[in-house]
Symmetry: D2
Subunit: 349 residues, 4 copies
């Protein structure tokens, strides 16, 4: 049934927002064909009943993961909750390539995982095998990987701007304050009182202050860039919008660098990247300008405080912060052009 | 510069929302190339400065319309305000094909135009020539047209469901109540106090009650279907959302038809249409399910009042209600596949 | 502890939005003292933990309803789910006056109740005793009542404008189309997927088409005004806003009346009412203008269709549509000035 | 006409959001009577035509400021744009007490004013006379003042938590990062494209990065507390909500203090304050919990980075950040109880 040059794709956990977003993106992908969609509680239904906006896409019915037939599948996107994911992935045939969107394989250190997730990792060998899929900064490893741990949404918005600056020695790795703002879709589609329209609309608040699980993921990446352990101040906030992350990052300049130097470093690093754009001096990025796209926009400002700079990064948390980057990684792993399925412009207004 | 099989496209008035939406859609069109963008007050700037979300698209700079060079252009989208549009279009070289998104050529009767717009039409011959571009219901004429009057957003959402029902004699043409709800982008990008975030958010109200200019446009189409003059009750409301129109239409059944008959008639009429979908019994369409797409969803219900039915139609006002339908019409006029540039799925959440 | 002229008030089911709204209003009431708050799942907690915005109010802790001590209580607001309410109210000491905000006592006809709620009413005697608390139109009965059934939010917004017009014979009772739009708080605070921010924001859709339980409540009131059975077309819609209802009502004029006659009738009927205001010709009411207040605004328009009129009514569903009207009824039942606790102006923007 | 114990109040510039908010609050004030409302472009109209939500309040018609009769007035709230304000206030009869809500009298240093506002101050004597109206921290001076400069919205949200901590020597005054988020009403009611619903909804972005005029106002207050010049990193963001400010403040602990010490210091300082509340450990304040009220909520957290703390302050920018604090100051200046007119609870949801 599949075209000869198409890979046959399965999505595990297709009834959540990241699953639906994968379907939206892959529906336009010329070399991928959706052949398997699992959703335990919705098994037997059509995805279009769960997500009417996807009615236009020809899709297999939802099945339980235990009923999945792996024989016709080449590639798996795993959108299951952390904790259960590791056992599911461990049970998959080894010939399948996998991009996992959960947090299960993001932390390389089993002790760190256990500390933040409250239990021992159940698939330590896979944890070692997994490649961290921050595409622009880990491209070669992703290309060669069988199992990719897709980065968290906040960590993507923070590491894309910061890692090149830390590697260049232009900012102090021991004085980083990250004030991050996210849309509500990051919390998923499960019914929770705190995510009701009436609770979120027309307000803003911080959450998970000083204890959000994306902090160690960020520190892992920044620490590798710095060549030493890094600890960051990281505070996420919930904003009344469905999509989008803005990370406002407050930095101390180092090595005699100026804010202009930071911008130059980023421009050079991302000059050939189709999805990352460094804004001109004086321009602040807005989440509305990346909505629905795989783009990351970065603005750089000299702070009023001498010797300090402000870096602002925006992404769509469901695209570059999740499903879009996952497709980007699949493209690399399958040897496709990296932008396939990801060419659409942002939707504004 | 253009590929051999590409038409060279110009957009007049590219700095408004419908202009930007055309650019978004045409950026992915395999057979169209944007060669001219006009915007009098923004001339000399790049469109990406006016609409940063379009930074990823290679585009010509904005020019004044008086500086436009028509020689390299095959096709024009006109997104200018009504009133001035008619003179601009009249001055274009006749060899150019045109889709006009203003109201200037929608009403066929010059007297009706003068009554609703307060002045005589300045290009009556063109008004006669213009073809009304409700694509699914006027396809043959659109294919052959040089000048297409792109329908209004509300009229599209109303006529797609109603015209087949009136033609089938299944609803009474003299007892039609339309309660329409629109997102704010329908009001354009000009700075107006009533469209400020603070004025619109978290509220709803009717506007233009019993005097909105889309009423005669609707009546023109329904009247043609009924074979007699039709007058409708039409009340638009402003909803705190950027995109989307929902028209809730209250109808008296005729000719012994039931609500199920209405659904069958619509299903049959739109069976082969890629952009129109008739929902199953009991399903109500939601604007979120068409956001960013050229889709139109229609739900049909028996009313509790015997002999009456409720028909609900939703579109994205900027796509099927404006720029998407315009591209659809261009595809027809240029002999392309009708769905080119319009294949993307809706964006949800 | 209570001042000598204060009534001692209990709220059953204080952890929902209508309970919280009662607390907000009664906190400023000079003659009411909150002495009992029940919330079974939250028993033992402070209300300020459940609703931090109410931290400034001195309140008793939440208790289970089975642990409630009725001895120190004079007046009860019952905010429990329909179905369970009737048994709870039946078990209360008869000396307590009660305003019930559920649907349990709104329908006077036990057969109608059974038909719409799927089971026999468990407290038919109380159902007979209950007075329908549409304050402005049933003031004398409310004053004398022991048990008041507080009207539903939609029925309040519909009946306040329609009942005087039907009584005056100025509109046809057999040709009424109601297109109602509500904010999300009407759905309560329980965690439901369809009320998540991500599901509701930036969209609109109809729900409960032709089968919403407020239809028979509306018909009961309009039927009494008309002196005959009435059946209405009633379609509710969910709007991305927390508070507010707009009912757009499409009417056939009767008895030779004009839209101006309708406005005059309403102006006369509500001339001395502090909470109901009839707008001037050409003015459409907006929900933003009643937010947080007990106000009802009504606009009247001649339709473009000869012989028809459009009436627009707006309220805040949590105030005049629920807790505000409940306090208004309490004031009457206790012999207080009707506006006590309800004097605040709307909050805009 | 005025009650014997009422002060007669005028509002200059009553057609903006802060003017309307003053009317909303003063409508319930037992000792204030609104006798004068100016609005040059709206002169001759009723305020209820400009702000229909205020229809229920008995008010004088709007007049031009040049037509104002000061003879019957005791107290002025000035809500005019900065720049023109200084001359208007200079021309007022000296017997009038004034609270000015513009920025004109907030900066004590004329050179600093000239630097940030681009022109010499036109009323330097008044600038010297003006008392900075951060009520809780400057109460004695406000009580004795004739002219009060009402603080900016951001500076209120920042100084209330920070000044006591700096005075206590518990945080380093030279390492302060403020990431502030505001609702859109802070931008006023003038029609500006960037504040349209379509531009703001469903997005977030920083603005005025490293050059916002509230930075020097904040530094003036913090510097006085520190006893030395202070320079802060201050970045405001625009959030899709009408009301509310959240300032997330990242601090270095000093003098051996812990985050718990910070909370204790704030709890002690504000123990008797009716409008300021320090949250318990682990609680983050939300703007929804102060909406429409004069409350300020403050949360304190130990950062993950050793030796650092996070302080979160929320207010309603139109109330405690503008008109509410203005009324609070008026109450002090007139010898009234400080909470008069400000007793209402927040509006949620």
């Amino acid at each position: 049934m599949a075209g000869t040059n198409k890979i046959r794709v399965g999505i595990l956990g297709a009834s959540g927002y990241t699953g639906a977003e994968l379907v939206r993106l892959l529906a336009r992908h010329p070399h991928a064909e959706l052949r398997l969609l699992t959703a335990d509680r919705q098994a037997g239904r059509k995805l279009a009943e769960v997500f009417p906006h996807l009615s236009g896409v020809a899709l297999p019915d939802l099945v339980k993961i235990e009923d999945a037939d792996w024989t016709g599948i080449d590639f798996i996107f795993c959108c299951l909750p952390h904790g259960t994911t590791q056992q599911v992935v461990a049970a998959l045939p080894r010939r399948l390539k996998v991009v996992d969107l959960s947090a299960d394989f993001r932390l390389a250190d089993p002790a760190l995982y256990a500390q933040w997730y409250g239990h021992e990792h159940q698939a330590v060998e896979l944890q070692k095998e997994a490649v961290y899929g921050l595409t622009e900064l880990n491209r070669a490893a992703v290309k060669a990987a069988r199992l990719v741990a897709n980065p968290g949404c906040y960590p993507t918005s923070v590491q894309l701007p910061l890692i090149p600056l830390i590697e260049a020695g232009e900012v102090a790795a021991d004085d980083i304050v990250i004030d991050a703002k996210s849309g509500v879709s990051g919390a998923g589609r499960d019914a929770k009182q705190q995510n009701l329209y009436t609770e979120v609309s027309e307000g803003i608040h911080a959450y998970g202050v000083a204890r959000h699980r994306h902090a160690p993921e960020i520190e892992q990446g920044l620490g590798a860039a710095a060549g030493k352990a890094v600890i960051v101040s990281f505070t996420p906030h919930l904003v009344p919008m469905s999509r989008g992350i803005l990370s406002s990052i407050y930095l101390k300049l180092a090595g005699g660098a100026s804010a202009e130097d930071l911008r130059d470093t980023l421009k050079q690093r991302y000059a050939d990247e189709p999805f990352v754009r460094i804004l001109a001096s004086g321009q602040a990025p807005a989440t509305r300008d990346v909505r629905g796209s795989n783009h990351c926009l970065i603005g750089v400002f000299a702070d009023r405080v001498p010797g300090r700079a402000i870096v602002l990064g925006v992404i769509d948390n469901l695209v570059k912060g999740a499903s879009g980057q996952a497709v980007q990684n699949m493209n690399l792993m399958a040897g496709f052009a990296e932008t396939l399925g990801l060419e659409q412009q942002p939707l504004f207004p």
